[in-house]
Every structure is written in C-alpha cells, then in structure tokens.
Symmetry: C2
Subunit: 404 residues, 2 copies
C-alpha cells in the first residue's frame, strides 16, 4: 500500500516513553490518531502535513483510523501560547472573547455553535414548509426606528440614522404589499445600558408576520418552531413539556403570584418581573408557558387591544413565551384601523409625523394580521442550559465590548 | 350549498352595465373572480369580507373559482389615491420607493421579489448539501473594519465603531477555530459616494470561506451557486453558457482589449473598467466569464499572491466573475503565513496594530484556505434583466436615500 498524506491541525501530543508519541490530527472531515516514532518537535495546534501508513485504529474507540508517521511538515506554526488545553481550564468569562478563534476548537464549544447554526437552518426549512418567505428589511433606518428604546446612531452621509430596533414596521409594509406570510432572521440592535447575562447590543431575532392569522394561529406556529429548535439542540425537556405549552393570562399571573409567598406579588398594571415568571413556572410545574392579555399600556402603538369587562381595563391581544424567567417570544395582533392607530399613538404621546410612512401603509388597507419576534440567542442558550447568551455568540457585542 | 365567506384585497373593479360588475379578490393563497350585482361603492384595493356562492369559474382562464357576491363588508378601506393601476403606468424611478407597499402588489413586482427570496433559500439549501454551515459575524465592528473603503460610523456607547464592510476577517477566525467550511448571507455597508445603478449603501452578500480548498475548487462551487440562482430566477441564458464558464487571465484581458478597437485597451497594471469587461464578453461571445491572476496590488492585504515569471510581476491567486460589465463574485486564496501577511500590510502601508486580532488569528496556525463574496442583489438584477439593482430591494439604501 502507498503512503497517505493528510493535512490538518495537530494537537494532544502525548509522548509514550522515548520511542513513541501519540497525537490527534484534525482534518477536514475526520480526526486521526497519529503515531509518531518519538516526540515530534512541533508546537501544539500547528497545521501540519503528515505522510505515513494509514491503518484502521483497532485499539482505539475514539478514532476510526490511525496514521503511522513517516514524515511531518509544518505548514503553519501555532506561535501563540493560547491553546485549547489552556482555555479548557478557564471558567467562561469575557477574557475568552479575545481568543475565540482558539476557544472554538474545543469540541464542546464546536458542538454548541454547530447546534445553533443547524437549528437556524432547521427553522428556515420549517418556515418554508409553512409557506412563509424570508424577506430582508434594511438595517439602517430613519424615521422607522420606533418608540422609546435606546438606539445606535449611524452617520448616513451626514444625516442622523439608526440601527434597526425591529423589522416589524417593514413587515407591515410587506403585508400591505400582499406578501401575506413573511419572516426574517436578522440582527437587531439595542443601545440600552444593560449588563445582564440575557442581553446583547446586537442580537439575532426571528420575526414572523402573517395576514389573516390571529393569536391562536401564531401561538401554534411558535410552538412548532420551539419544538423544532429543541429537537435540533437536544434540549433537556420531556416531550410533554413541549407538546402542550400552557397559556395563562396576565390576570392569572397576578393571582398566582398573590397566592405564592415566594416574592412580592405582581401588582395589577405593573410589568412581570423575572421572579414573578419563576413563581408561575413553579406553580405550573412547567418551564415553558405563555402569558396573554397583558395591559394595553405595556405594548407598542401598533398592538391591537380590546376592553376586557372582567378586568375592567384595556388588554392587548398579545402573547409572550417564557422559559422560566426569560422572555423568548413576544407577539400580538396588530392595529389595522388608521383611526385606532392614531388613538394609540396619542395615548403613548408619539408624534404621528415621525411615523408618517407607517400611517400611510395602514391607510392603504391592511388585512387582519399578527406578528411575533423570537430571540434566537436566548432560546439557544436556554436549550443548551447556558447561563450567558454570549456563550452562543462567537463575537458578541455588549456595553463596552466591541473587539474583536 | 351554504354561502362562502372570503377575506382579501379587492381590485380591478369593472362595471359591466348597471346590473353587473366584476372584480378580483386576492386572498391568502388564491385570487377569485367576484361577480357583483351592480357596481360596488368601494375604494379599489380595500380589504373586504365577501359572502356569496362559490362556483367554478367556467368562463375564465385566469381564475379557478368565482364568487357571486351576496354581501360585502369593508374591513380596511384604502384611503390612499396610490393604487397598483396608477403605479403600473409610471416608469421605474426613486419616486416609487415611497409607495413600495403598493408597488409590491403588482404581479410582476411580486414575482420578482419571490424569485429573489426563493433563490436565496435555494442557495442556503445548496450550501447545506455542500456541507457548509452558515455562521453569523457582527454588523458592528471596531478595528476589524479593514482597508481604505468608506465606512459608516456608529456611535457605540460613546466609542467610534463602524458598520461591517466584509465578514471575511471573522471567517478567517472561524477557519482558525477549525470550522473548515463556512458561509454567511448578510447585509454589508459601504459609505462611498456612488450614484451607479449597481451600487447600494446596504447590500446583501454571500460570503464563503473554505479551508483545504483552492481557487479551482471555489470557482467550481461558484459555478454551481450561479447555476442554482439562474434556475430559480428563470435567467435568460442558454444552458451551455452556464455549464462551462470560461476562465481568462488578467493578461488575456490586456491582450483582448488591445486587439479590439472598441475602446482604449486595458493598460497592464490598471483596473479593469466596465467597457473592458464588455469587450471581453463580446470577444468570448459569452456573458459570464472568470478573470484570474489580477495584479497583486489590486488585492487586499490578506490575499495570497505569487510571482508570475511570464508577466514578470506579482499576481494574485484570485478569481472574479463578470456578467457582462458587472462584477458578481470576487474571491481568492488567502495568506496563511504571518510573515507574508506583515509584508503585504507593509506594501499597502497598513498599520499591523490596527489589525492586531487578525494577526493573532493568523499566528495561531491556519490551514490553506480560500474565500469569496457574491453580490446577491447584483446577481439577481442580472438574472432578471433589470437595469437597476434597487429593483430587487424593496427598501434600498443609497446616497441621500434613507426613507422609508
């Protein structure tokens, strides 16, 4: 048999006495056990070209094949002192971010990122099966940057512009343009000062907008999306927790947290805090649950609302998915009446002139429609039981962190 | 049979005498012919709910079913004077951009956008079949914003940052992290003052980076991608023009344009101008062709080059796909030697300190690798024979155009 030549990254060099050393060669599709006649004088994690005899790795359970090295040539030396072995010993911290290119070589980090990336592809396939098309909205926006959220400013040829906070105003224009079922997976940007482990300044979101569909349809679609992502990431949830995700109202959350003695109860009208959500999850004995019918004043101007005679206030036709204390999905039916839209803007003290294109879109005739946003990084972190969403983003952006 | 209720957009209302009117109702999945007992007093392109008897549309070739209207209710009136019918009469211009939500209702515009969006999904499917994974690089970048191209500035918590010009430096980090075959479809941003019909300030690009693969592999992959996009957009090209795309060298372009009397020839060392590319296309009698071996000084610092004894100068190991005069793909083998990288930076008078993370990545050991970028909007416009790439972007961004 002629000798074989393999090119890849050499690591885990382990001398076995003076006349033998083992190492691992990571090639394009496979890892090989390398058997050296003595310890090779090569920096770990260099790129090498090895020539030798390839054989089935009979003594190993980890490798299918081993190569008995006749010749080795260093193509690209690792001249850094940072190696996989060194990074593996460190706890996850932001220091690792300056060595992501090495950190990603670790099998567990590689698996985590591959799960995320293949799950995103699986969501795109699901949305295609559901007959949605993926659209693209601009990242640089002017007056369509809605509401009070903190924005990143962009200098657009001397004019003040912003990085997109949401694509949903554009999705409304697509619906007005008779694209009835659209979605978009894209980065959004928020400039708020937030040091939490669940926030990024730039984050990936799935937004879905559908005409002629209401809240129940979109909750059902969301459940299918979440199930698909959980399946692709081996999320540690029993099937029954995904098959039938419970729905509670905001009023139920008030009642549950009032009965519970864990924390201060939710005061009617206030926002649900993480500890309220945890109390509800514990009460339901379910990590995933929907909350619907939030107070109208919690929701943006484009959200459709109704008077609830039982509560005696205006509530939204909305839906929010919690996974324990973390909000994963936010959605709701949208306003299609221009008059109601202007009322909602007035209630929120927004100047309709700032949203003149959106008002124009609504005045052109909109079918009933519903939209939602799903925080992909948050969902992935939950599926993989990671404490910090930065762990699923190789080059995260957050306050005071821009490099590399 | 009980009456049917349908909800959708009503248009093309055509009275046929006093006792009959026809119209079209566009619903979620289908268009219906509506038969009214007299002209309905409804603004065209309003959203209506119609109740009536549904029958096979026996007299029509365009519609499968017709509804004989008993009752009609306006759910959302179109109060705008802009209608499909009106926009159809206008030539394409930037004035249309303020009415995109109506313009998209036109069947030909709808078809154009659907072709683009489904072609992008088809490219993602192809890349998955080719065993590439889609990664995400950040849009907000600091020192990784390379080279002399004009950048959009972002205020990142008081620090000057930029919108991404290219993901390829991040892709090199993924390759260093042993992700051998990655791609990304994402918006990039260029702030150069350019009024051409082929430029946008924000544009969609496919970037592909592959370890252990060289120029020939990536040209072959590119050919497969272009064929896939052409098939999904019904591009008016004979199969043989796609099956075997010719490859010429930069020196060939010098020779061809020197022999031709159409225009001033390409002077060795200068950049290929659109009229040079058109001359080559005419000479080859092929709209699509590759140019390889560009002068080294045309290419960015990370491009691998070699001395060509025939020409007597340094040339790049690169590849560029032209479709007539438009550059669609740019790619090349990359530098993996830290020493060569620093030489290339010195030649281009770039400060290595500005690229310290990139230098660190290269010093950590890189396999041979090749990258490319494909301008999706440009390719789509060519496939659909559109003069302006803005025609495939619903909300384009270009100099002095930010709204909506």
């Amino acid at each position: 048999m002629p000798p074989t030549t393999l090119t890849g990254r050499l690591f885990q060099i382990r001398p076995m006495g003076k006349r033998l050393a083992f190492a691992v060669l990571r090639c394009l599709d496979q890892e090989y056990l390398c058997v050296f006649p003595g310890r090779p004088d090569i920096a770990e994690e260099s790129i090498v070209r090895i020539t030798g005899m390839l054989r089935p790795a009979e003594k190993s359970r980890k490798f299918a094949e081993e190569i008995h090295v006749d010749d080795v040539q260093v193509l690209a030396e690792n001249t850094s002192t940072t190696t996989m072995a060194r990074l593996r010993q460190l706890p996850y911290s932001r220091d690792i971010l300056s060595d992501q290119h090495v950190y990603m070589r670790l099998p567990e980090v590689r698996e985590r990122l591959l799960k995320k990336w293949t799950a995103i592809k699986a969501v795109r396939d699901l949305m295609e099966d559901e007959r949605y098309v993926e659209v693209q909205s601009p990242r640089i926006v002017g007056s369509m940057a809605d509401g009070p959220t903190m924005k990143f400013k962009v200098d657009f040829f001397g004019r003040e512009a912003y990085l997109s906070l949401s694509n949903l105003l554009f999705h409304t224009a697509f619906v007005a343009g008779d694209f009835s079922s659209v979605f978009e997976i894209s980065p959004l940007f928020r400039a708020d000062i937030n040091h939490s482990s669940q926030h990024l300044s730039e984050f990936l979101i799935l937004e879905v907008t559908a005409a002629h569909r209401g809240r129940d349809d979109m909750i059902a679609l969301s459940d299918r999306i979440v199930r698909r992502v959980c399946a692709h990431t081996d999320a540690p949830l029993p099937d029954e927790h995904l098959a039938d995700i419970p729905v509670v109202t905001y009023e139920d959350v008030v009642a549950i947290t009032t009965k519970s003695e864990d924390h201060a109860p939710l005061q009617r009208g206030d926002r649900i805090k993480p500890y309220h959500a945890r109390t509800v999850a514990r009460h339901l004995n379910r990590p995933l649950f929907w909350v619907v019918d939030m107070p109208a004043h919690h929701k943006a101007f484009f959200s459709s609302t109704r008077y609830d005679p039982l509560v005696g206030t205006e509530v939204a036709n909305d839906f929010r998915l919690y996974w324990d204390e973390v909000g994963i999905i936010d959605g709701g039916e949208r306003v299609t009446s221009p008059q109601r839209l202007l009322e909602r803007m007035a209630e929120q003290r927004l100047d309709p002139v700032r949203f003149d294109y959106y008002v124009k879109v609504v005045k052109s005739g909109l079918p009933p429609f519903t939209g939602l946003g799903l925080g992909i990084d948050r969902l992935m972190a939950k599926c993989m039981s990671l404490a910090n969403i930065r762990q699923v983003v190789p080059f995260p952006r957050f306050i005071d962190h821009l490099e590399p």
